[in-house]
Symmetry: C2
Subunit: 404 residues, 2 copies
Amino acid sequence: MTELSRRRLLTGAGLAVGGGAVVAAGAGLLRQTEQAPRSVLAAGSDQSIAFHGSHQAGIATPVQDRLHFASFDLSTDSREDVVAMLKAWTAAAVQMTEAKEVGGGATGAELAPPDDTGEAIGLPASRLTLTVGFGPSFFDKLKLPKPEGLKELPHFPADKLDPARSGGDVCVQACADDPQVAVHAIRNMVRMGFGAASIRWSQLGFGKTSSTTPNAQTPRNLMGFKDGTNNIAATDEQKLDTHVWVGDEGPEWMRGGSYLVARRIRMHIETWDRTSLKEQEDIFGRTKREGAPYGGTREHDPVALDKLPIDSHVRLAHPDSLGGATILRRGYSFTDGSDGLGRLDAGLFFLAYQRDLEKGFIPIQRALAAKDTLNEYIQHVGSGVFACPGGVSPGSFWGAALLA
Amino acid sequence: MTELSRRRLLTGAGLAVGGGAVVAAGAGLLRQTEQAPRSVLAAGSDQSIAFHGSHQAGIATPVQDRLHFASFDLSTDSREDVVAMLKAWTAAAVQMTEAKEVGGGATGAELAPPDDTGEAIGLPASRLTLTVGFGPSFFDKLKLPKPEGLKELPHFPADKLDPARSGGDVCVQACADDPQVAVHAIRNMVRMGFGAASIRWSQLGFGKTSSTTPNAQTPRNLMGFKDGTNNIAATDEQKLDTHVWVGDEGPEWMRGGSYLVARRIRMHIETWDRTSLKEQEDIFGRTKREGAPYGGTREHDPVALDKLPIDSHVRLAHPDSLGGATILRRGYSFTDGSDGLGRLDAGLFFLAYQRDLEKGFIPIQRALAAKDTLNEYIQHVGSGVFACPGGVSPGSFWGAALLA
């Protein structure tokens, strides 16, 4: 290993593999070996991400490997019931993100159902984050004032949205490096929500397609491309304040929060796979192997818009083409069996966070829906928009400032 | 870390984390950092599993973390077309299991579709294995003699099999520690099969529930239990020969192969989660936290059948209750969104390998279907049975001895 590559290894992707980290990984290993061995032992997966803070975790947090996203419908119009659920969810989230059992692992009550469903016992924290958002219908059902920034998305040409995969009153985004930890979290929230909310739709994402780590290579999507290279870095506080976190323009409970757009984007991968390399590259405006923008040689080389085909994805979605419109991407690849027509039901579950939908997803998608040559190969089949409140303080709960 | 726990760390689950392995992990890290960084860097995930051998890889191989399983229907009755597909699949499998691109990464033909779909470029081998099996209908369609050992499963009480998730002419089991690597493999086989076979159903498994590592703790299923503790170890050649590998009783092409039963088992987790700990434990005949059989204190303590409730899962499925009936388990948890009734569509995708179905899955499932108290909480909703031929020699291809 050369000195240069060694240094890149140590710092390039924000990864520490020095002595301390090895010890930490060793402790994680030990725990896994004793409790629930996995053949892949994730260095760093024993890390926990702080739940409390001025922003919710899971937005600017370096993107974890796996996702379980759930959208719930309220089955009550009682604010008290919803507050009770959100309090229970918050308490459980604090425990789960610290790799503790829901309920703290109390024993003895063997005639009662366990407080925790158990499938994550012994697994490390796996950098679990849980992020909650409220859809427009949440405010209608509970007769609460809707923030001005939260609006239903317009219809975009070629949208083919399935109501059963769209909308919802409350969403929970669970991200973790171990899918079992993410699924466990959502499943326990479903369980605790019984009587107040039931699941409307959910989505597993098996592979992240975004990075918020500065200068890191972007993981590839199911088209084989690195897309969203120009993402906001988790460390770029100025850009986060400008483009992601709601400021004084929002109601108090939304300050430090963000608006989330979730889109289930089916890819027609069979058609894509029969398209020439040149056409694929022209559509993105990037090389496939390296991910370099046309005119550059490396993924992170600056994008010269005039070197890109006029209707290419990168050019159309670039902030310079759209008066600065910018989002923070946290998308995941999905494969949900097949569609009955001999094709895999696969694509991108796209998650975009922004301070202002009108300066984020809406103008970007308007441009893409109108002109993007990629449209021949994709279709938006699910959609949701949610107001994710600011961070939770110790002792408080999700949505406290809105509901209390 | 105590000396004892350190030793357990080094040997307990068959994991080497000594100097050599650290170097190997470092090399894997480097590659990932340069190409497609992942926040979880899997020690050992840069390992590749040999494709060639006297048995197919992916059966006795230590169980990888993730699964993508696909069942295909032939769209041709031409043996030539099928041979051509199996040859192409085999060549690609050799490349993919070595973390190479399909086609070897040839460049230049930018007016042709790429040979590889690209989403795994830069990812390590991740211990990918690809295992092929032929369903009963494969032999009918191609007018080939069906091995005596391959028969349709009988109907079991309470089966509620969905034809769209059952059967199929050819199956491919892709196991890997990185789901993107497993999905990439299946997707490329779908692509290469175009014209000869199309996908009938597929299943993603996000978390393994079985271990074939001697004395390792069994990963928990979505009921929070360790099930299948008494699995056959990958190192126990005598048990493998007795219970898993087909011997002289089978046609030549099946020797060293195995019969695979795949069952999609939906769990009614919402009901389960409202069941008392005592009832849950009585149903399995094991403690939930440790996984110890009733009468024991540790997971791997010997099972004393008379200490277990008479209709408990462990007692009913135990070889001593069934004249020695034994299977090798490679099951995975799944969560496929929700079912439209506010419930997660979650459960166990059960994969059982055996030398003889009549001394393996069939008597076990007959006993469980008749008496298992677990039946209140599960339902079998998909099913397939496949003859997985013996191993592939270098230069040969899957099914050569059957088809050539």
